[in-house]
């Protein structure tokens, strides 16, 4: 339980710092790094047996949403010769990413601790609609 709290605290800090990044290119890099590490971590936990097959399948929509948001946000970035420029769609996709990765973390922590998972389905459905 203490580890779960510690990981959640770290993730909260990461998300807070991500939101603080001003440069769109840097902001995407931070989101991409978090997504890459999350993907590997989820598979690692699954291979260790901490996350079961059902856990992984339950997490799939949220993982897909987060990954899709990062992929689409990358397409929105434009190089102006000196730096990357984002835009309103890019900002929206970054918000979608933040929401989806939050749900992934909830699932992962719940599976880790054996707690019942009760995600905010309405919120996730809205996020999925935006990405699709």
């Amino acid at each position: 339980m203490a580890m779960s709290v510690a990981r959640s605290s770290v993730l909260f800090l990461i998300l807070a710092l991500t939101a603080c990044a001003q440069d769109p290119g840097r902001r995407w890099l931070q989101a991409s790094t978090i997504m890459t590490e999350t993907n590997h971590q989820v598979v690692d936990l699954h291979e260790l047996g901490i996350l079961g097959d059902h856990d992984l399948i339950q997490m799939e929509p949220y993982l897909n949403t987060a990954n899709s948001a990062v992929n689409k946000a990358r397409i929105q970035l434009r190089w102006d010769g000196n730096r990357f420029i984002g835009g309103s769609t890019f900002d929206t996709l970054m918000m979608v990413f933040d929401s989806a990765i939050d749900e992934v973390t909830r699932y992962r922590d719940a599976a880790w601790t054996g707690d019942h998972v009760d995600p905010n389905a309405d919120k996730v459905d809205k996020v999925r609609e935006i990405v699709q």
């Binding site: 580890m3 440069d23 991409s32 590490e37 598979v43």
Partner: protein, 63 residues
Amino acid sequence: MIEAQVILAIMGAAKSIIVTGAELLKDTPATEAELEIAEAELKSSQARLKAAIEAAKARIGPG
């Protein structure tokens, strides 16, 4: 066995925190090269995740 798994998981989480923390400390404009490297690593992790999910679905079967 469980203890070994937990230790491995903690090590994995610690690595994630260090890697992610190092990236978050940067605040200079991102370069094209940085994005290309990150994109390749992201695609690789996505492929690994997709394979794991497909294998899990195959084990569970329809329904």
